[in-house]
């Protein structure tokens, strides 16, 4: 049995160097043990006495093992380095060992690495600095007691966070000091060497007491995350007992006490900002209509949607285009045809000789109908009932805009205008009369083009779409 003396509690590098030689010398784990403290002189073998490797000089271990081992090496368990060596030894014979999280050695490795990771995290959380004014200015000093050998591993975090402060963290085993440029480690210290107080702690305690909600005590949940062994170094922890003791009484008092007479606010009454907007819009009947539509709850679609997406365009636009309903992007923006289908529509209108800005663009249904699917919304076709519920708004737009021709994009638009379902492919390509002396034309919805797969097919469909739009453009020009 050989004993290897490492250079300190956190000497992972030393362990790695020894372990490499030992593995290459084919020393089985039963024949070696690692110690971190020189307890009995003479028992330990010097590093140089290792059997020299024969033949093989290199071997590889998974990077994941090195990461886990580096962390587990900081565990306070005295056997940790022996465990790491045993796993290293086994890894050469069982290359998949690391995947076997249920293996006793691997389970222990994971548990140790996790405990160390948690301890580092808790140190980042629970260190409490106290300000000290020195000749060189303000410095910050903390006393902390970690569970494991983590001072070197945990303190670079503070150097990155408080680069421009001078600070010291004292622990029983090691101390760390940041002088503003360099992180220095020294021997352990005692609590007596740390500052006893900091005036600002009174404010911190006030905050802690005030942010606590006495109506929802959950002390077990608190203890799970902030175990009692940390409490004696947390200034706020002394409030825990009194806060809990008074919580029930404070809560019952809030419940029992009758509400006071509502305060009457003196001074200026705050006008409803919407009111001024309303007056400005009243002059414009299309805006007025839109404002009313924003509050529409005529069918259930209003609740899950972001907002009513009303039509937009000049009041006397010669062409009024009707789509089905707003999509995801339109719902967010509150404007029709701003998403992918809108881009196609803009291009097709331009190719047909009409600037989108000259057309009035709206939808048969003014709220987005969708089904939530994780982080996405899937479009759902509106029902006939929903189209009917939205009809008054469309009728209002038609009346106020009074276009020369109405272009119905897709089946839902046709349904809204004709009051019955119509085959887009059969109806398209001709201008026909609508009730009320209006004229209309049916064509596909631009999203139909987005769904087509083949390039040729899509190109052809796009040309047909532009052809239909041209028909509408020519028709309105003749009417002018």
């Amino acid at each position: 049995m050989r004993s290897i003396l490492l250079g300190g509690e956190a000497d992972f590098t030393g362990w790695r160097d020894h372990a490499r030689s030992l593995i290459l010398a084919d020393v089985p784990p039963e024949d070696v043990s690692f110690v971190t403290q020189d307890g009995a002189p003479g028992l330990f073998e010097e590093a140089s006495h290792h059997a020299q490797p024969q033949g093989e000089t290199e071997f590889r271990v998974p990077r994941r093992f090195v990461e886990l081992a580096e962390q587990a090496a900081l565990h306070r368990d005295a056997d940790r380095f022996d465990l790491l060596y045993r796993i290293l030894w086994r890894l050469r014979r069982e290359p998949e060992l690391l995947e076997l999280a249920s293996d006793p050695d691997i389970a222990r490795l994971h548990a140790m690495a996790k405990a160390v990771g948690r301890d580092i995290h808790k140190m980042h959380a629970f260190v409490r600095f106290r300000a000290v004014v020195t000749a060189e200015g303000e410095q910050f000093v903390a006393w902390y007691e970690p569970d494991h050998h983590i001072v070197e591993a945990a303190t670079p975090f503070f150097a990155r966070r408080f680069t421009n402060l001078v600070w010291t963290i004292l622990t029983p085993e090691r101390s760390a000091h940041w002088n503003g440029a360099e992180l220095l480690f020294g021997p352990g210290a005692t609590r007596a060497e740390a500052p006893k107080e900091d005036e600002l702690e009174a404010l911190w305690l006030s905050y802690y007491a005030s942010i606590f909600n006495p109506a929802r005590p959950k002390p077990q949940a608190m203890r799970a995350e902030m175990p009692t062994r940390f409490w004696h170094n947390l200034p706020e922890a002394r409030l825990i007992a009194p806060l809990l003791a008074g919580a029930e009484e404070r809560t019952q008092e809030m419940i029992a006490r009758a509400p006071t007479k509502p305060a009457v606010r003196r001074g200026a009454k705050h006008p409803d900002p919407a009111a001024a907007e309303q007056r400005a819009e009243a002059a414009d009947d299309l805006l007025q209509l839109k404002r009313e539509a924003l509050e529409c709850r005529a069918c259930p679609l209003w609740a899950p949607a972001t907002q009513t997406v009303f039509g937009e365009g000049p009041k006397n636009a010669p062409i009024l285009l009707i789509g089905e309903q707003p999509g995801d992007q339109e719902d967010l923006a509150g404007r029709p045809f701003v998403g992918p289908a809108g881009k196609i529509l803009d291009r097709a209108l331009a190719d047909a000789g009409l600037d989108r800005a000259r057309a009035y663009v709206t939808n048969a249904v003014k709220h987005f109908k969708f089904e939530p699917r994780g982080k996405r919304r899937l479009h759902k076709k509106p029902s006939v009932g929903e189209i009917r519920a939205c009809a008054p708004w469309l009728e209002g737009e038609l009346t106020l805009v009074a276009p020369k021709i109405v272009v119905m994009l897709g089946a839902s638009a046709a349904q809204a205008m004709l009051g019955r379902s119509a085959s887009v492919m059969k109806q398209r390509g001709r201008v026909f009369d609508l009730p009320g002396g209006r004229h209309g034309l049916v064509t596909v919805h631009p999203s139909y083009l987005l769904r087509l797969q083949g390039d040729d097919e899509r190109h052809e469909a796009y040309q047909d779409f532009v052809k239909d739009l041209k028909l509408a453009v020519r028709f309105q020009a003749k009417q002018a």
């Binding site: 999280a101 629970f126 942010i211 799970a224 947390l234 900002p273 939530p372 996405r376």
Partner: protein
């Protein structure tokens, strides 16, 4: 009024906002800066109060004066609570001195509405502008946005804040009409929609805008919405606005409550079940319908057992599953198996078949999973024979586990 009294009033007024997350911001530190602060991905909870909530941020209101009169809110205009208002300099000083002592990860600033939305937003911006520009503060900032504030103010807020949020307040818009008559659901949702669009646009153009995204909060128990309705709203919000989190806040007794809203003990277990259900929706592949099927006829999740167990008991025909063969998706539905455990099981069983003692070493509670899985050395008795199953596998005292409030 001295700073301590102001802090007491304005922290007390802020505590009903559940969010305290400090994760998800852009990674940074102070090595190339003049000030202090860093963000290394994972949030840090610096303390815990006896209500089980973490203290990660200095969570305060700029003022608790408010022109709104939302019945559920301690700060409503008609309440007789003491009012206070921080100066910009006071908030800056508190944030920096708390941060230097390692009490906090940063600032969560909210405010009552004073004068109007823009004025309030502008005052809040002065705080964060000073912290970021004058003090090169690189810690975390969560800003509550005021719905209706001008777009330019929102854009600036996103430049300084890691996270922004607008509260949906209540699960049903009808409740908002009733309990917060001057708040408008359209404004709230429009603000959330605009935030999603702005965040996505900034990501596409690699610009900075609220890198930790947006979140929201719903009060549970102030209206009559069922758990089923609440989760439907959550699913809607997650899908619509790409929220990092929906927080559920059990309506708890407040000082000087409104006579129109009856107070009772905070429904803490209900809140806990909602968080569990929310987790199932986001990380366990459960659909809204799955969760709703675990609820009782009146749409409420059982309080005595968790929603995953409730779902499994309602779908006994899908169990038991062979732990060494079932898909990852199936394993995620087994009561007692968490996401990480499932990953370890899937990796381990590639090497060799897992047995009972393997599960014990993976820290799986055999008591919980036993009725639902088959192992080479374990075959459960038929589930349908065991009507008292829920009682058998549930400890008599339901555990009040805290679900890491800090996971983004």
């Amino acid at each position: 009024m001295d700073l301590k009294s102001k802090l007491e009033i304005l922290a007390d007024a802020a505590k009903y906002d559940a969010s305290c997350a400090s994760s998800g911001g852009a990674a940074r530190d102070s090595r190339d800066g003049k000030g202090i602060g860093s963000m290394e991905g994972m949030g840090i909870c610096h303390s815990y109060t006896p209500d089980g909530r973490c203290v990660s941020l200095l969570k305060i209101l700029l003022t608790n004066s408010c022109i709104y009169d939302c019945l559920y809110c301690v700060n409503r205009a008609s309440s007789n609570v003491r009012r206070a208002r921080f100066s910009v300099e006071e908030v800056v000083r508190l944030t920096l001195s708390f941060y230097k002592r390692n009490y906090i990860e940063g600032l969560f600033l909210s405010s009552g509405i004073i004068k109007d939305s823009n004025y309030t937003m502008e005052e809040m911006l002065r705080v964060v502008r000073t912290l970021r520009n004058d003090h090169d503060f690189r810690g975390y900032i969560h800003l509550k946005l005021i719905p209706n504030a001008d777009e330019s103010l929102v854009t600036e807020a996103g430049l300084y804040a890691d996270r922004v949020s607008v509260n949906i307040e209540l699960p049903k818009p009808e409740s908002l009409d009733r309990l917060a008559p001057r708040k408008n659901i359209r404004n709230i949702r429009r603000s959330m929609g605009r935030l999603r669009a702005t965040i996505e646009e900034a990501q596409a153009e690699r610009k900075t805008f609220a890198p930790a995204g947006q979140s929201t909060q719903m009060i549970v128990g102030a209206d009559d919405a069922s758990d089923s309705a609440i989760l439907e709203t959550s699913a809607n919000l997650y899908s619509s606005y790409n929220l990092r989190r929906v927080y559920y806040s059990a309506f708890s007794p407040i000082q000087d409550s409104s006579r129109h809203l009856r107070l009772s003990d905070a429904p803490l277990m209900r809140e806990h079940r909602l968080y569990q259900a929310d987790w199932l929706l986001r990380f366990y592949g459960f659909g809204l319908g799955d969760i709703q099927s675990a609820a009782t006829k009146n749409g409420m999740l059982p309080l005595d057992i968790d929603p995953k167990l409730a779902w499994a008991l309602g779908h006994r025909h899908l169990f038991p599953l062979d732990l060494n063969r079932a898909s990852r998706e199936e394993l995620l539905r087994v009561p007692g198996l968490g996401v990480k455990t499932v990953e370890r099981i899937v990796a381990s069983r590639r090497v060799r078949a897992l047995r009972c003692d393997d599960l014990a070493r993976l820290k799986v509670s055999l008591r919980k999973v036993a009725p639902f899985v088959i192992l080479p050395d374990h075959r459960p008795t038929r589930l349908s024979d065991r009507d008292n199953l829920a009682r058998l596998i549930t400890p008599p005292q339901p555990e009040q586990l805290s679900l890491g409030f800090d996971v983004a």
